[in-house]
C-alpha cells in the first residue's frame, strides 16, 4: 500500500513485476489512522503491520527496519503455527 494513485501503482507494479494487488491510500486516511503519515512530505512512512485473523496487530516494523521482511515472515510463521494448533 502507498499513497500513490492507482494508475501510478499499476505502472510501478508492472515495472517491478509485482503480481499481487497494491492498495492505494490516495486520500491519506489509512496512513493517518495507522500513525505513519509524514506531514511534511505528504506520504506514508515505511512500515509493515502484521494483523491476525481477529484483526489484532501482532507485529510492527517501522522505518528502514521494514525493508528487511525477515521479522515479518517470522511473525507470519508464528500466526500460521497458531492456526495449526487447536
Amino acid at each position: 500500500m502507498s499513497v500513490d494513485s492507482i494508475p501510478a501503482n499499476r505502472e510501478f507494479a508492472k515495472q517491478i513485476g509485482v503480481t499481487f494487488p497494491i492498495l492505494s491510500d490516495f486520500k491519506r486516511t489509512v496512513v493517518k489512522d495507522y500513525g505513519v503519515f509524514n506531514e511534511e512530505q505528504g506520504f506514508g512512512n515505511r512500515a509493515t503491520f502484521v494483523i491476525d485473523k481477529e484483526g489484532i496487530i501482532q507485529h510492527i516494523d517501522e522505518g528502514n527496519v521494514a525493508i528487511d521482511p525477515t521479522t515479518v515472515v517470522e511473525a507470519c510463521n508464528v500466526l500460521t503455527h497458531r492456526k495449526a494448533s487447536p
Partner: protein
C-alpha cells in the same frame, strides 16, 4: 576562563549530537502490538476494493506501507 570555554564547547557538541540524532527519526506510530488494527476500505491495482474487516476470521493480513512508487520502495 578556560574551563568556561571548554564547557561551552562541550555543551555545543552535546546539543549538535542531540539535534542530529533527532533529525532523521520518522514519527512513531501510536499503534502497539495487541491493538485492534484500524479498519479501512481501499481500491487496488486489480480494480477491486479491499476492506480489512472482510478478512476477519478468515485470513491473517500483512499491511506493507511503502513510501512512494518509482522511488526504490
Amino acid at each position: 576562563m578556560y574551563t568556561r570555554w571548554l564547557m561551552s564547547v562541550l555543551l555545543l557538541v552535546v546539543l549538535s549530537v542531540v539535534a542530529l540524532a533527532q533529525q532523521p527519526t520518522p514519527p512513531k506510530t501510536h499503534l502497539k502490538v495487541g491493538d485492534p488494527a484500524p479498519d479501512f476500505t481501499l481500491h487496488a491495482t486489480d480494480g477491486k476494493t479491499y476492506k480489512l474487516s472482510d478478512f476477519k476470521g478468515k485470513k491473517n493480513v500483512v499491511l506493507a506501507i511503502y513510501v512512494l512508487a518509482f522511488t526504490g520502495g
